[in-house]
């Protein structure tokens, strides 16, 4: 028998420890459970198989992102922001860079603007593929999972050819990008998009009208538009309720104002709608990427601004001003003027915002990430309560909580 004093302390204090009635049970699910893709703990009160109420705890992946930001240069944070939503790291990069650029009053070059838009849509495609694939796998649709993840891996390798990494790219730079496209990159992109279309067609055929899939998804995990807005939902979950709210359309940033695209919406905000909105959004992303490949202008990818962009290597080796410039940018980093800025992009999960505060030095005074996954955890009980215990799996999958972003 284990003595009481050596038992490990409980990191959470549940909102309830006793049932409202005497015939219910309280179970603990997670934080490390094979059915939840994400490290999250759910304490649920059950009446038989039905969930009466839930108390959700996150934070198991907290690694002090915001604290760590306050002791590095603005540029050195880019690998950290990659690791927030690690499924679509490029969007984190670009949002963070835009916040700092706003503070510094920098306007990026046209080529950089279109490339960032193209890569944001590519990231959204990868993110939605992952979410849909994992959600289907959790319902037993192994074939659909393998189709989607195979295409995703083509994309990862393709992004690695551009950035040097499969998942965490560190590709954004304040004032531009790390490097331009390699030769033949867009040709390969078109090949991958064709493969995507072939396999997404097969997945539509496998699951869209599949009786088992519909029974598990339709009218499960429903949330109304009113509740979704009250609980701060943005992105796919809000659009699945029928509200066509998309920052790419409503507050156009990067090159979105010049693109033709639809904002797909659902009809009742259940799991099936979230699945279908993601599937439709992927098609829209492909449509946008094809437009962007046509529109992509030539020219430099970095602004000509010595406050943030490293000088040409050749100049660093031949003239003293550029050498000092390079040294100062590496050692002290860019110094945005004192002030604050908030930049928000439509990430695959919703509004991803960076609120940055500078005191005029090379080290941020504060970097705060408005992480959609975290806010979504605040209202997730609305989608879990009242349904079956087994419905937690597809519902939680369709919320697409990304631990890195949620817990920071």
């Amino acid at each position: 028998m284990t003595p009481v004093e050596t038992r490990l302390p409980n990191p959470v204090r549940p909102a309830f420890t006793a049932g409202e009635r005497d015939d219910t049970v309280i179970v603990n699910i997670g934080p490390s459970h094979p059915c939840t893709h994400g490290t999250v703990q759910i304490i649920a009160e059950l009446d038989g198989e039905r969930v009466l109420r839930t108390d959700i705890h996150c934070g198991y992946l907290h690694r002090g992102f915001e604290k760590e930001c306050e002791s590095h240069t603005w540029h050195n944070l880019i690998p950290y922001v990659d690791r927030l939503n690690y499924v679509s790291a490029l969007i984190n990069d670009f949002t963070y860079c835009e916040a700092v650029e706003t503070l510094m009053g920098i306007e990026i070059t046209p080529r950089c603007r279109y490339l960032r838009t193209l890569l944001s849509e590519y990231s959204r495609l990868v993110d939605h593929l992952t979410c849909v694939a994992a959600g289907l796998m959790e319902l037993g649709a192994m074939t659909a999972f393998l189709y989607l993840v195979m295409v995703r891996d083509f994309m990862y390798e393709h992004l690695a050819a551009l950035t040097g990494a499969r998942v965490t790219y560190s590709y954004g730079r304040i004032g531009g990008l790390a490097r331009d496209l390699p030769d033949g990159w867009l040709v390969r992109l078109e090949e991958i998009l064709k493969q995507y279309e072939e396999f997404i067609g097969r997945v539509h055929g496998l699951v869209d009208r599949n009786r088992i899939f519909i029974d598990r998804m339709r009218d499960v995990g429903t949330i109304s538009t009113k509740d979704a807005i009250s609980y701060g939902y943005t992105g796919v979950i809000l659009r699945a309720t029928g509200a066509a709210r998309d920052l790419r359309r409503d507050t156009p940033y990067l090159a979105y104002a010049e693109l033709d695209f639809d904002v797909p919406v659902g009809i009742k905000g259940d799991n099936y709608d979230r699945y279908f909105v993601r599937m439709r959004e992927m098609d829209e992303s492909v449509y946008m990427m094809r437009q962007l490949m046509e529109m992509l202008p030539a020219g430099p990818i970095n602004v000509d601004d010595r406050r943030c962009v490293l000088p040409e290597k050749e100049l660093v080796y031949t003239e003293i001003e550029s050498l000092i410039n390079h040294f100062k940018l590496v050692m002290d980093g860019p110094k945005p003027p004192a002030g604050e800025a908030y930049a928000a992009h439509e990430s695959p999960n919703g509004e991803l915002g960076f609120y940055v505060v500078s005191d005029g030095s090379g080290v941020p005074w504060k970097v705060h990430c408005r992480a959609p996954s975290y806010v979504h955890m605040g209202g997730a009980h609305k989608m879990l309560d009242g349904y079956q215990l087994a419905d937690i799996v597809p519902t939680f999958g369709s919320i697409n909580m990304i631990g890195g972003e949620c817990d920071r």
Partner: protein, 157 residues
């Protein structure tokens, strides 16, 4: 249209604010902490700021008052953002909770409370969210050292 709504809000709420200015496309209202609830009430009911995006704080140590609490709102109707700021002292780091108006306030105020020690009056559920029960201190305060360790389970020597 975006500018129009911000002008109207600015005109209507400037008398209750310490300052009102547009910075990088966002209207920034600086308020006394006690003006928060009435101002947010008008923003929500009269001007359609229905999405409560975020609340966080800035630790301005060694300035006084030490903390600045920052709220961000978005209007899904007008597609504009607004930022509200209020300074509070360390000895009285209390502001009103927005929980009665916005469901999302619950979880975001929990984070701000554990990270900075700001108390949200009216939010009765300020349990730790990203940290754990029994964590001592508020890690995003400037006087909390980055390398302080508080293992919940002792390290194995």
């Amino acid at each position: 249209m975006a500018a129009g709504i911000l002008d109207r809000v600015s005109e209507a709420l400037a008398p209750t604010a310490i300052s009102a200015a547009i910075a990088h496309g966002i209207l920034v209202l600086t308020l006394a902490p006690e003006a928060l609830t009435p101002v947010v009430g008008r923003l929500q009911s009269e001007f359609g700021f229905d999405l409560f995006l975020d609340v966080t704080a800035i630790d301005w140590l060694p300035q006084t008052p030490r903390f600045e609490v920052v709220w961000h709102f978005y209007s899904t109707e007008h597609h504009v953002r607004i930022r509200i700021k209020a300074r509070v002292a360390e000895s009285d780091a209390v502001v009103d909770s927005l929980r009665p108006r916005y469901g999302s306030a619950g979880i975001m105020e929990r984070e701000c409370h554990e990270m900075y020690g700001i108390v949200f009056r009216g939010n009765d559920d300020l349990r730790p969210m990203l940290l754990y029960e029994g964590f001592v201190g508020h890690p995003l305060r400037k006087d909390y050292p980055k390398d302080r360790e508080q293992p919940l389970v002792p390290y194995i020597k």
